[in-house]
Protein backbone atom coordinates (compact mmCIF):
# COMPACT_ATOMS: atom_id res chain seq x y z
CA UNK A 1 0.00 0.00 0.00
CA UNK A 2 1.37 3.40 -0.88
CA UNK A 3 1.70 5.69 2.12
CA UNK A 4 0.26 9.14 1.51
CA UNK A 5 2.87 11.83 1.82
CA UNK A 6 2.32 14.36 4.62
CA UNK A 7 2.59 17.96 3.50
CA UNK A 8 2.86 21.10 5.53
CA UNK A 9 1.69 24.62 4.78
CA UNK A 10 3.73 26.96 6.89
CA UNK A 11 3.46 30.72 6.68
CA UNK A 12 5.76 32.18 9.30
CA UNK A 13 4.42 35.70 9.03
CA UNK A 14 0.93 36.37 7.67
CA UNK A 15 0.82 39.29 5.28
CA UNK A 16 -2.00 41.80 4.87
CA UNK A 17 -3.41 41.16 8.33
CA UNK A 18 -3.04 43.46 11.29
CA UNK A 19 -0.59 42.19 13.87
CA UNK A 20 1.72 39.24 14.01
CA UNK A 21 0.50 35.76 13.34
CA UNK A 22 1.51 32.58 11.59
CA UNK A 23 -0.23 29.67 9.95
CA UNK A 24 0.56 25.98 10.23
CA UNK A 25 -1.38 23.25 8.43
CA UNK A 26 -0.41 19.60 8.25
CA UNK A 27 -2.23 17.43 5.72
CA UNK A 28 -1.96 14.45 3.41
CA UNK A 29 -4.07 12.71 0.77
CA UNK A 30 -6.47 11.51 3.46
CA UNK A 31 -7.17 14.91 4.91
CA UNK A 32 -6.04 17.46 7.44
CA UNK A 33 -4.20 16.39 10.56
CA UNK A 34 -3.52 19.71 12.21
CA UNK A 35 -4.34 23.39 11.81
CA UNK A 36 -2.91 26.14 13.94
CA UNK A 37 -3.42 29.88 13.63
CA UNK A 38 -0.51 30.98 15.77
CA UNK A 39 -0.77 34.42 17.27
CA UNK A 40 2.65 35.41 18.52
CA UNK A 41 1.86 39.06 19.03
CA UNK A 42 2.80 39.53 22.68
CA UNK A 43 0.02 39.87 25.26
CA UNK A 44 -0.70 43.38 26.36
CA UNK A 45 -2.39 43.15 29.77
CA UNK A 46 -4.90 45.96 29.38
CA UNK A 47 -7.41 44.30 31.70
CA UNK A 48 -4.76 44.22 34.41
CA UNK A 49 -3.63 47.81 34.26
CA UNK A 50 -7.20 49.12 34.09
CA UNK A 51 -7.56 48.06 37.71
CA UNK A 52 -7.22 51.04 40.03
CA UNK A 53 -7.93 53.56 37.26
CA UNK A 54 -10.89 55.91 37.38
CA UNK A 55 -14.02 54.73 35.56
CA UNK A 56 -13.87 57.81 33.30
CA UNK A 57 -10.48 56.70 31.99
CA UNK A 58 -11.76 53.41 30.55
CA UNK A 59 -12.62 54.76 27.06
CA UNK A 60 -9.30 56.56 26.70
CA UNK A 61 -7.20 53.65 27.93
CA UNK A 62 -9.01 50.90 26.02
CA UNK A 63 -8.98 52.90 22.79
CA UNK A 64 -5.21 52.31 22.78
CA UNK A 65 -5.82 48.62 22.26
CA UNK A 66 -6.41 49.39 18.58
CA UNK A 67 -5.49 52.10 16.10
CA UNK A 68 -8.11 51.20 13.48
CA UNK A 69 -11.07 50.52 15.78
CA UNK A 70 -10.53 52.78 18.80
CA UNK A 71 -14.12 54.04 18.63
CA UNK A 72 -15.39 50.49 19.14
CA UNK A 73 -13.42 50.21 22.38
CA UNK A 74 -14.62 53.61 23.51
CA UNK A 75 -18.24 52.75 22.73
CA UNK A 76 -18.14 49.43 24.57
CA UNK A 77 -16.36 51.08 27.50
CA UNK A 78 -18.78 54.00 27.90
CA UNK A 79 -21.85 51.83 27.47
CA UNK A 80 -20.60 49.37 30.09
CA UNK A 81 -19.88 52.19 32.56
CA UNK A 82 -23.29 53.74 31.84
CA UNK A 83 -24.87 50.36 32.42
CA UNK A 84 -23.14 50.21 35.81
CA UNK A 85 -24.21 53.74 36.81
CA UNK A 86 -27.71 53.65 35.28
CA UNK A 87 -26.94 56.47 32.86
CA UNK A 88 -29.07 56.72 29.74
CA UNK A 89 -27.80 59.41 27.38
CA UNK A 90 -30.57 61.20 25.49
CA UNK A 91 -31.49 60.39 21.91
CA UNK A 92 -29.42 63.22 20.40
CA UNK A 93 -26.24 61.86 21.98
CA UNK A 94 -27.21 58.38 20.90
CA UNK A 95 -27.37 59.59 17.30
CA UNK A 96 -23.91 61.16 17.56
CA UNK A 97 -22.56 57.85 18.77
CA UNK A 98 -24.07 56.04 15.80
CA UNK A 99 -22.56 58.67 13.56
CA UNK A 100 -19.02 58.27 14.83
CA UNK A 101 -19.39 54.51 14.55
CA UNK A 102 -20.41 55.02 10.88
CA UNK A 103 -17.08 56.81 10.41
CA UNK A 104 -15.15 53.97 11.98
CA UNK A 105 -16.90 51.26 10.00
CA UNK A 106 -16.15 53.16 6.81
CA UNK A 107 -12.44 53.67 7.48
CA UNK A 108 -11.88 50.17 8.83
CA UNK A 109 -13.89 48.29 6.20
CA UNK A 110 -12.46 50.33 3.33
CA UNK A 111 -8.88 49.79 4.48
CA UNK A 112 -9.55 46.07 4.55
CA UNK A 113 -11.49 45.87 1.30
CA UNK A 114 -9.09 47.87 -0.83
CA UNK A 115 -5.69 47.44 0.82
CA UNK A 116 -5.81 44.00 2.37
CA UNK A 117 -8.42 41.76 0.75
CA UNK A 118 -9.11 42.89 -2.82
CA UNK A 119 -5.53 42.06 -3.90
CA UNK A 120 -6.31 38.39 -3.10
CA UNK A 121 -9.23 38.31 -5.51
CA UNK A 122 -7.43 40.18 -8.29
CA UNK A 123 -4.21 38.19 -8.05
CA UNK A 124 -1.83 40.77 -6.55
CA UNK A 125 0.62 40.45 -3.70
CA UNK A 126 -0.16 43.94 -2.43
CA UNK A 127 -2.38 46.94 -2.89
CA UNK A 128 0.60 48.86 -4.24
CA UNK A 129 0.99 46.38 -7.10
CA UNK A 130 -2.78 46.35 -7.58
CA UNK A 131 -2.73 50.15 -7.91
CA UNK A 132 -0.51 49.94 -11.00
CA UNK A 133 -3.32 48.20 -12.90
CA UNK A 134 -6.32 49.56 -10.98
CA UNK A 135 -5.37 53.15 -10.08
CA UNK A 136 -8.91 54.52 -10.19
CA UNK A 137 -10.18 51.84 -7.81
CA UNK A 138 -7.38 52.46 -5.33
CA UNK A 139 -7.88 56.22 -5.51
CA UNK A 140 -11.57 55.66 -4.81
CA UNK A 141 -10.64 53.56 -1.78
CA UNK A 142 -8.25 56.18 -0.45
CA UNK A 143 -10.85 58.92 -0.79
CA UNK A 144 -13.51 56.74 0.85
CA UNK A 145 -11.23 56.05 3.80
CA UNK A 146 -10.51 59.73 4.10
CA UNK A 147 -14.26 60.41 4.32
CA UNK A 148 -14.57 57.94 7.19
CA UNK A 149 -11.54 59.51 8.89
CA UNK A 150 -13.12 62.95 8.53
CA UNK A 151 -16.29 61.84 10.33
CA UNK A 152 -14.31 60.35 13.21
CA UNK A 153 -12.06 63.41 13.43
CA UNK A 154 -15.01 65.83 13.47
CA UNK A 155 -16.91 63.97 16.16
CA UNK A 156 -14.01 62.53 18.11
CA UNK A 157 -11.49 65.35 17.94
CA UNK A 158 -8.99 63.32 15.93
CA UNK A 159 -8.91 60.25 13.71
CA UNK A 160 -6.83 57.96 15.87
CA UNK A 161 -7.72 57.47 19.55
CA UNK A 162 -10.45 60.13 19.61
CA UNK A 163 -10.46 62.44 22.61
CA UNK A 164 -14.08 63.59 22.64
CA UNK A 165 -15.76 60.43 23.91
CA UNK A 166 -16.66 60.21 27.59
CA UNK A 167 -19.01 58.37 29.88
CA UNK A 168 -22.41 60.00 29.47
CA UNK A 169 -21.78 61.46 26.01
CA UNK A 170 -18.97 63.62 24.70
CA UNK A 171 -16.97 66.59 25.90
CA UNK A 172 -18.29 68.71 23.03
CA UNK A 173 -21.20 68.31 20.65
CA UNK A 174 -20.72 69.63 17.11
CA UNK A 175 -22.76 72.44 15.62
CA UNK A 176 -25.14 71.42 12.85
CA UNK A 177 -23.19 73.45 10.31
CA UNK A 178 -20.02 71.52 11.15
CA UNK A 179 -21.72 68.25 10.33
CA UNK A 180 -23.36 69.64 7.22
CA UNK A 181 -19.91 70.65 5.91
CA UNK A 182 -19.33 66.92 5.34
CA UNK A 183 -22.61 66.34 3.54
CA UNK A 184 -21.39 66.60 -0.07
CA UNK A 185 -18.42 64.33 0.57
CA UNK A 186 -20.66 61.78 2.29
CA UNK A 187 -23.02 61.84 -0.69
CA UNK A 188 -20.06 61.22 -2.98
CA UNK A 189 -19.02 58.46 -0.54
CA UNK A 190 -22.38 56.75 -0.74
CA UNK A 191 -22.16 56.65 -4.54
CA UNK A 192 -18.55 55.45 -4.36
CA UNK A 193 -19.59 52.81 -1.84
CA UNK A 194 -22.14 51.51 -4.35
CA UNK A 195 -19.34 51.30 -6.92
CA UNK A 196 -17.33 49.36 -4.34
CA UNK A 197 -20.18 46.87 -3.94
CA UNK A 198 -20.42 46.40 -7.71
CA UNK A 199 -16.63 46.03 -7.95
CA UNK A 200 -16.45 43.42 -5.17
CA UNK A 201 -19.45 41.55 -6.54
CA UNK A 202 -17.52 41.00 -9.75
CA UNK A 203 -14.69 39.05 -8.10
CA UNK A 204 -14.41 35.27 -8.42
CA UNK A 205 -15.33 33.51 -5.19
CA UNK A 206 -14.43 29.97 -4.14
CA UNK A 207 -17.46 27.78 -3.72
CA UNK A 208 -17.15 27.34 0.06
CA UNK A 209 -19.85 27.27 2.69
CA UNK A 210 -20.12 25.99 6.26
CA UNK A 211 -22.95 25.74 8.71
CA UNK A 212 -21.94 28.49 11.16
CA UNK A 213 -23.55 29.70 14.30
CA UNK A 214 -23.71 33.42 13.48
CA UNK A 215 -23.79 35.70 16.53
CA UNK A 216 -24.46 39.43 16.53
CA UNK A 217 -26.36 42.18 18.24
CA UNK A 218 -29.94 42.73 17.15
CA UNK A 219 -32.06 45.80 17.74
CA UNK A 220 -35.77 46.24 17.32
CA UNK A 221 -35.52 49.17 14.95
CA UNK A 222 -32.03 49.54 13.51
CA UNK A 223 -28.98 47.81 12.12
CA UNK A 224 -26.94 47.30 15.29
CA UNK A 225 -24.05 49.43 16.44
CA UNK A 226 -24.21 50.13 20.16
CA UNK A 227 -27.32 48.51 21.53
CA UNK A 228 -29.42 45.40 21.39
CA UNK A 229 -29.65 41.83 22.51
CA UNK A 230 -27.17 39.16 21.54
CA UNK A 231 -28.74 36.66 19.17
CA UNK A 232 -27.74 33.79 16.93
CA UNK A 233 -29.25 31.74 14.14
CA UNK A 234 -29.46 28.83 16.59
CA UNK A 235 -31.71 30.40 19.15
CA UNK A 236 -29.36 32.42 21.35
CA UNK A 237 -31.15 35.51 22.67
CA UNK A 238 -29.54 37.11 25.71
CA UNK A 239 -28.68 40.49 27.18
CA UNK A 240 -25.04 41.59 27.42
CA UNK A 241 -25.28 40.97 31.17
CA UNK A 242 -25.70 37.26 30.45
CA UNK A 243 -22.65 37.01 28.19
CA UNK A 244 -20.38 35.35 30.76
CA UNK A 245 -22.97 32.65 31.43
CA UNK A 246 -23.04 31.60 27.79
CA UNK A 247 -19.52 32.22 26.46
CA UNK A 248 -16.11 31.12 27.63
CA UNK A 249 -12.50 31.90 26.75
CA UNK A 250 -9.80 29.27 26.66
CA UNK A 251 -6.08 29.64 26.39
CA UNK A 252 -4.84 27.39 23.60
CA UNK A 253 -1.21 26.41 23.71
CA UNK A 254 -0.17 27.54 20.25
CA UNK A 255 -1.45 31.10 20.46
CA UNK A 256 -1.23 34.16 22.68
CA UNK A 257 -4.86 35.04 21.94
CA UNK A 258 -7.67 33.37 23.85
CA UNK A 259 -10.20 31.28 21.93
CA UNK A 260 -13.88 32.04 22.55
CA UNK A 261 -16.70 29.54 22.35
CA UNK A 262 -20.36 29.20 23.27
CA UNK A 263 -20.57 26.99 26.34
CA UNK A 264 -21.84 23.57 25.35
CA UNK A 265 -21.80 24.41 21.64
CA UNK A 266 -18.35 25.52 20.50
CA UNK A 267 -17.10 27.91 17.85
CA UNK A 268 -19.17 30.71 16.38
CA UNK A 269 -18.82 33.50 13.84
CA UNK A 270 -19.05 37.20 14.66
CA UNK A 271 -18.66 40.15 12.34
CA UNK A 272 -20.16 41.56 9.15
CA UNK A 273 -21.47 38.23 7.83
CA UNK A 274 -23.25 37.54 11.13
CA UNK A 275 -24.67 41.05 11.35
CA UNK A 276 -25.87 40.93 7.76
CA UNK A 277 -27.49 37.52 8.04
CA UNK A 278 -29.24 38.28 11.31
CA UNK A 279 -30.25 41.87 10.57
CA UNK A 280 -30.73 42.22 6.80
CA UNK A 281 -34.22 43.61 7.26
CA UNK A 282 -32.80 46.43 9.38
CA UNK A 283 -30.48 47.69 6.64
CA UNK A 284 -31.74 50.90 5.07
CA UNK A 285 -34.00 50.45 2.00
CA UNK A 286 -31.29 51.89 -0.26
CA UNK A 287 -28.77 49.35 1.06
CA UNK A 288 -31.18 46.50 0.50
CA UNK A 289 -31.72 47.80 -3.02
CA UNK A 290 -27.99 47.66 -3.74
CA UNK A 291 -27.87 44.06 -2.49
CA UNK A 292 -30.77 43.23 -4.79
CA UNK A 293 -29.08 45.05 -7.66
CA UNK A 294 -26.15 42.62 -7.51
CA UNK A 295 -28.52 39.69 -6.76
CA UNK A 296 -26.78 39.09 -3.44
CA UNK A 297 -28.93 37.01 -1.09
CA UNK A 298 -30.09 38.24 2.29
CA UNK A 299 -28.36 35.25 3.90
CA UNK A 300 -24.81 34.23 3.00
CA UNK A 301 -22.69 31.37 4.36
CA UNK A 302 -19.62 31.85 2.18
CA UNK A 303 -16.95 33.69 4.21
CA UNK A 304 -15.08 34.63 1.03
CA UNK A 305 -18.05 36.82 0.13
CA UNK A 306 -17.60 38.79 3.34
CA UNK A 307 -15.89 41.40 1.15
CA UNK A 308 -19.25 42.02 -0.53
CA UNK A 309 -20.96 42.24 2.87
CA UNK A 310 -18.33 44.71 4.11
CA UNK A 311 -18.92 46.78 0.99
CA UNK A 312 -22.67 46.78 1.68
CA UNK A 313 -22.01 47.83 5.27
CA UNK A 314 -19.89 50.71 3.98
CA UNK A 315 -22.81 51.80 1.79
CA UNK A 316 -25.12 51.50 4.80
CA UNK A 317 -22.73 53.53 6.95
CA UNK A 318 -22.73 56.41 4.45
CA UNK A 319 -26.51 56.20 4.10
CA UNK A 320 -27.00 56.17 7.87
CA UNK A 321 -24.50 59.00 8.33
CA UNK A 322 -26.46 61.15 5.87
CA UNK A 323 -29.71 60.35 7.65
CA UNK A 324 -28.25 61.44 10.99
CA UNK A 325 -26.63 64.53 9.48
CA UNK A 326 -29.81 65.70 7.82
CA UNK A 327 -31.84 65.31 11.02
CA UNK A 328 -29.23 66.43 13.52
CA UNK A 329 -30.12 68.68 16.42
CA UNK A 330 -27.37 69.70 18.79
CA UNK A 331 -28.01 68.30 22.29
CA UNK A 332 -28.57 70.83 25.09
CA UNK A 333 -25.78 69.17 27.06
CA UNK A 334 -22.98 67.16 25.51
CA UNK A 335 -22.99 64.61 28.32
CA UNK A 336 -25.02 63.49 31.33
CA UNK A 337 -23.76 62.33 34.69
CA UNK A 338 -24.97 60.22 37.59
CA UNK A 339 -23.75 59.55 41.14
CA UNK A 340 -20.91 57.09 41.43
CA UNK A 341 -21.67 53.82 43.16
CA UNK A 342 -20.18 50.40 43.56
CA UNK A 343 -21.49 48.41 40.59
CA UNK A 344 -20.75 46.14 37.66
CA UNK A 345 -21.63 47.12 34.11
CA UNK A 346 -21.81 45.20 30.85
CA UNK A 347 -21.93 46.19 27.21
CA UNK A 348 -21.53 44.74 23.74
CA UNK A 349 -21.11 46.90 20.66
CA UNK A 350 -20.45 45.95 17.06
CA UNK A 351 -16.88 46.79 16.18
CA UNK A 352 -16.18 46.63 12.43
CA UNK A 353 -14.89 43.07 12.92
CA UNK A 354 -17.72 41.99 15.21
CA UNK A 355 -18.84 41.80 18.82
CA UNK A 356 -16.79 43.65 21.39
CA UNK A 357 -17.72 42.80 24.99
CA UNK A 358 -16.67 44.91 27.96
CA UNK A 359 -17.44 44.25 31.61
CA UNK A 360 -16.25 46.50 34.46
CA UNK A 361 -16.65 46.47 38.20
CA UNK A 362 -16.12 49.77 40.00
CA UNK A 363 -15.99 50.64 43.70
CA UNK A 364 -17.85 53.38 45.53
CA UNK A 365 -15.12 55.86 44.56
CA UNK A 366 -15.42 55.04 40.87
CA UNK A 367 -12.18 53.09 40.71
CA UNK A 368 -12.10 50.07 38.41
CA UNK A 369 -11.61 46.89 40.41
CA UNK A 370 -12.03 44.40 37.60
CA UNK A 371 -12.22 44.46 33.80
CA UNK A 372 -12.93 41.97 31.06
CA UNK A 373 -12.59 42.69 27.36
CA UNK A 374 -13.40 40.18 24.63
CA UNK A 375 -12.54 41.46 21.12
CA UNK A 376 -14.03 40.04 17.92
CA UNK A 377 -10.84 38.55 16.53
CA UNK A 378 -10.35 36.21 19.48
CA UNK A 379 -14.02 35.22 19.14
CA UNK A 380 -13.45 34.13 15.55
CA UNK A 381 -10.17 32.29 16.00
CA UNK A 382 -11.60 28.79 16.36
CA UNK A 383 -13.90 29.41 13.41
CA UNK A 384 -10.93 30.50 11.30
CA UNK A 385 -9.08 27.29 12.16
CA UNK A 386 -12.19 25.22 11.41
CA UNK A 387 -12.55 27.02 8.06
CA UNK A 388 -8.95 26.21 7.21
CA UNK A 389 -9.46 22.56 8.08
CA UNK A 390 -12.50 22.32 5.83
CA UNK A 391 -10.92 24.41 3.07
CA UNK A 392 -7.79 22.25 2.88
CA UNK A 393 -9.90 19.07 2.96
CA UNK A 394 -11.85 20.32 -0.02
CA UNK A 395 -8.79 21.57 -1.89
CA UNK A 396 -6.25 18.75 -1.63
CA UNK A 397 -5.91 18.71 -5.41
CA UNK A 398 -4.53 22.26 -5.56
CA UNK A 399 -0.79 22.87 -5.95
CA UNK A 400 0.83 23.76 -2.62
CA UNK A 401 1.52 27.38 -3.54
CA UNK A 402 -2.09 27.92 -4.59
CA UNK A 403 -3.39 26.15 -1.50
CA UNK A 404 -1.19 28.29 0.73
CA UNK A 405 -2.45 31.42 -0.98
CA UNK A 406 -6.05 30.24 -0.57
CA UNK A 407 -5.50 29.60 3.16
CA UNK A 408 -4.08 33.07 3.69
CA UNK A 409 -7.03 34.52 1.79
CA UNK A 410 -9.37 32.53 4.03
CA UNK A 411 -7.81 34.08 7.13
CA UNK A 412 -8.21 37.53 5.61
CA UNK A 413 -11.94 36.82 5.17
CA UNK A 414 -12.19 37.70 8.87
CA UNK A 415 -10.09 40.88 8.71
CA UNK A 416 -8.35 39.72 11.88
CA UNK A 417 -7.03 42.37 14.22
CA UNK A 418 -4.37 40.44 15.99
CA UNK A 419 -3.20 43.23 18.28
CA UNK A 420 -6.73 43.46 19.68
CA UNK A 421 -6.93 39.73 20.27
CA UNK A 422 -3.84 39.64 22.47
CA UNK A 423 -4.97 42.27 24.92
CA UNK A 424 -4.90 39.82 27.78
CA UNK A 425 -3.23 36.64 28.85
CA UNK A 426 -3.24 35.09 32.31
CA UNK A 427 0.35 34.90 33.42
CA UNK A 428 1.33 32.19 35.87
CA UNK A 429 4.74 32.54 37.46
CA UNK A 430 6.38 29.94 39.59
CA UNK A 431 9.34 30.99 41.70
CA UNK A 432 12.00 28.61 42.82
CA UNK A 433 12.22 29.19 46.58
CA UNK A 434 15.82 29.91 47.81
CA UNK A 435 14.89 28.09 51.03
CA UNK A 436 14.50 24.94 49.03
CA UNK A 437 18.25 25.07 48.43
CA UNK A 438 18.93 25.31 52.16
CA UNK A 439 19.72 29.01 52.00
CA UNK A 440 18.72 31.32 54.82
Amino acid sequence: MTQSKTKTIKVDYLARVEGEGALFVKYDDQGVQDVKLKIFEPPRFFEAFLRGRDYKEAPDITSRICGICPVAYQMSAVHAMENALNITPPAKIRELRRLIYCGEWIESHILHIYMLHAPDFLGYESAVLMAKDHPKAVERGLRLKKAGNALVALLGGREIHPINIRVGGGYRAPEARELLSLKEELKWGRDAARETVLWAAGFDFPNFERDYEFVSLAHEHEYPFNEGRLISNRGLNISPMEYDSHFQETHVEHTNALHSSIIGRGAYLAGPLARYNLNFDKLSPLTQDVAKEIRFPSYCRNPFQSIIVRSLEVFYAFDEALRILENYEKPDQSYVEAPIKEATGYAITEAPRGLLYHRYSIDSNGKITDAKIVPPTSQNQQTIEDDLKELVSQSLQLPETELTRRCEQAIRNYDPCISCSTHFLKLHLSYASPLAKGET
Binding site: E18, G19, G67, M115, V128, L142, K145, K146, I160
Partner: protein, 157 residues
Amino acid sequence: MVIGLGQRFRSDDGVGPFVLDKIRPLLSAQADLRECASDAADLLDLWDGQPVVYLVDALSSASGTVGEIIRIDGIYEKIPVEFGASSSHALGLAEAIELGRTLKKLPQRLLIFGIVGAKFDLGNQLSPLVEHAAKAVINELTNLVTTDLVNKEMFDA
Protein backbone atom coordinates in the same frame (compact mmCIF):
# COMPACT_ATOMS: atom_id res chain seq x y z
CA MET B 1 6.11 70.94 4.98
CA VAL B 2 7.61 68.89 7.80
CA ILE B 3 5.94 65.59 8.62
CA GLY B 4 6.55 63.62 11.79
CA LEU B 5 5.53 60.02 11.16
CA GLY B 6 5.00 57.58 14.00
CA GLN B 7 3.11 56.54 17.12
CA ARG B 8 3.79 58.59 20.24
CA PHE B 9 3.07 55.66 22.53
CA ARG B 10 5.36 53.13 20.91
CA SER B 11 8.64 54.32 22.38
CA ASP B 12 11.18 55.11 19.61
CA ASP B 13 8.46 55.04 16.98
CA GLY B 14 7.48 58.40 18.49
CA VAL B 15 10.66 60.13 17.30
CA GLY B 16 8.82 61.75 14.38
CA PRO B 17 6.20 63.43 16.60
CA PHE B 18 8.98 64.27 19.10
CA VAL B 19 10.89 66.22 16.44
CA LEU B 20 7.69 67.96 15.41
CA ASP B 21 6.98 69.03 19.00
CA LYS B 22 10.47 70.54 19.31
CA ILE B 23 10.48 72.47 16.06
CA ARG B 24 6.93 73.77 16.42
CA PRO B 25 7.92 76.81 18.55
CA LEU B 26 10.71 77.58 16.08
CA LEU B 27 9.19 76.93 12.68
CA SER B 28 5.40 76.96 12.91
CA ALA B 29 5.27 80.30 11.08
CA GLN B 30 7.62 79.20 8.31
CA ALA B 31 6.48 75.66 7.61
CA ASP B 32 3.39 73.50 7.62
CA LEU B 33 4.00 70.98 10.42
CA ARG B 34 1.98 67.75 10.31
CA GLU B 35 1.88 64.60 12.37
CA CYS B 36 0.90 61.30 10.80
CA ALA B 37 0.28 58.71 13.46
CA SER B 38 -0.83 55.62 11.70
CA ASP B 39 -1.63 55.05 8.08
CA ALA B 40 1.14 56.18 5.76
CA ALA B 41 -1.48 56.23 2.99
CA ASP B 42 -2.74 59.43 4.64
CA LEU B 43 0.55 60.97 3.51
CA LEU B 44 -0.62 60.95 -0.10
CA ASP B 45 -3.14 63.69 0.55
CA LEU B 46 -0.86 65.54 2.92
CA TRP B 47 2.09 65.91 0.59
CA ASP B 48 0.39 65.87 -2.83
CA GLY B 49 1.67 68.84 -4.84
CA GLN B 50 3.82 70.24 -2.03
CA PRO B 51 7.07 71.79 -3.30
CA VAL B 52 9.23 70.44 -0.46
CA VAL B 53 8.52 67.85 2.22
CA TYR B 54 10.86 66.84 5.03
CA LEU B 55 9.74 63.68 6.79
CA VAL B 56 11.04 62.19 10.03
CA ASP B 57 10.42 58.53 10.82
CA ALA B 58 11.83 55.79 13.02
CA LEU B 59 13.54 52.79 11.51
CA SER B 60 13.55 49.28 12.86
CA SER B 61 16.72 47.67 11.60
CA ALA B 62 18.58 44.59 12.73
CA SER B 63 21.74 45.76 10.97
CA GLY B 64 21.68 49.48 11.75
CA THR B 65 23.19 51.23 14.75
CA VAL B 66 20.70 52.68 17.21
CA GLY B 67 20.67 56.45 16.78
CA GLU B 68 22.02 56.32 13.24
CA ILE B 69 20.45 58.93 10.96
CA ILE B 70 19.76 57.83 7.41
CA ARG B 71 18.88 60.51 4.86
CA ILE B 72 17.05 59.46 1.74
CA ASP B 73 15.76 61.31 -1.28
CA GLY B 74 12.24 59.87 -1.38
CA ILE B 75 11.72 60.75 -5.05
CA TYR B 76 14.91 59.35 -6.55
CA GLU B 77 16.22 56.77 -4.11
CA LYS B 78 14.87 53.37 -3.17
CA ILE B 79 13.35 53.30 0.29
CA PRO B 80 14.77 50.56 2.51
CA VAL B 81 12.31 47.98 3.77
CA GLU B 82 13.19 49.05 7.32
CA PHE B 83 10.79 51.95 6.80
CA GLY B 84 8.02 49.57 7.76
CA ALA B 85 4.47 50.34 8.77
CA SER B 86 4.14 52.47 11.87
CA SER B 87 0.86 50.73 12.42
CA SER B 88 0.45 47.12 11.49
CA HIS B 89 -3.02 48.02 10.22
CA ALA B 90 -1.73 50.13 7.44
CA LEU B 91 0.77 50.91 4.75
CA GLY B 92 4.38 51.57 5.54
CA LEU B 93 6.27 54.60 4.26
CA ALA B 94 7.96 52.70 1.44
CA GLU B 95 4.60 51.40 0.22
CA ALA B 96 3.02 54.83 0.52
CA ILE B 97 5.75 56.35 -1.65
CA GLU B 98 5.34 53.62 -4.28
CA LEU B 99 1.60 54.12 -4.19
CA GLY B 100 2.14 57.85 -4.55
CA ARG B 101 4.44 57.24 -7.50
CA THR B 102 1.80 55.05 -9.19
CA LEU B 103 -1.04 57.47 -8.52
CA LYS B 104 1.14 60.54 -9.25
CA LYS B 105 0.61 61.90 -5.75
CA LEU B 106 4.11 62.83 -4.60
CA PRO B 107 5.66 66.13 -3.58
CA GLN B 108 8.21 67.76 -5.86
CA ARG B 109 11.00 67.14 -3.32
CA LEU B 110 10.93 64.62 -0.48
CA LEU B 111 13.78 64.30 1.98
CA ILE B 112 13.40 61.56 4.57
CA PHE B 113 15.26 61.47 7.87
CA GLY B 114 15.19 57.93 9.22
CA ILE B 115 16.45 57.42 12.78
CA VAL B 116 17.29 53.86 13.75
CA GLY B 117 15.39 53.00 16.92
CA ALA B 118 15.88 50.38 19.59
CA LYS B 119 12.50 49.93 21.27
CA PHE B 120 9.05 49.87 19.68
CA ASP B 121 6.94 48.51 22.51
CA LEU B 122 4.43 50.49 24.54
CA GLY B 123 5.97 53.58 26.09
CA ASN B 124 6.27 57.32 25.64
CA GLN B 125 10.02 57.76 26.09
CA LEU B 126 12.72 57.74 23.44
CA SER B 127 15.90 55.76 23.88
CA PRO B 128 18.80 58.09 24.81
CA LEU B 129 20.64 57.55 21.51
CA VAL B 130 17.45 58.14 19.53
CA GLU B 131 16.74 61.34 21.40
CA HIS B 132 20.29 62.48 20.74
CA ALA B 133 19.86 61.80 17.03
CA ALA B 134 16.51 63.58 17.04
CA LYS B 135 18.19 66.74 18.34
CA ALA B 136 20.66 66.63 15.46
CA VAL B 137 17.77 66.27 13.01
CA ILE B 138 15.99 69.19 14.65
CA ASN B 139 19.02 71.41 14.07
CA GLU B 140 19.36 70.27 10.49
CA LEU B 141 15.66 70.77 9.75
CA THR B 142 15.71 74.24 11.25
CA ASN B 143 18.59 75.20 8.94
CA LEU B 144 16.94 73.62 5.90
CA VAL B 145 13.56 75.28 6.40
CA THR B 146 15.13 78.64 7.10
CA THR B 147 17.31 78.36 3.99
CA ASP B 148 14.30 77.33 1.89
CA LEU B 149 12.46 80.41 3.10
CA VAL B 150 15.36 82.72 2.29
CA ASN B 151 15.71 81.20 -1.17
CA LYS B 152 11.99 81.57 -1.80
CA GLU B 153 12.03 85.19 -0.76
CA MET B 154 14.95 85.86 -3.07
CA PHE B 155 13.17 84.08 -5.93
CA ASP B 156 9.92 85.92 -5.35
CA ALA B 157 11.65 89.32 -5.15
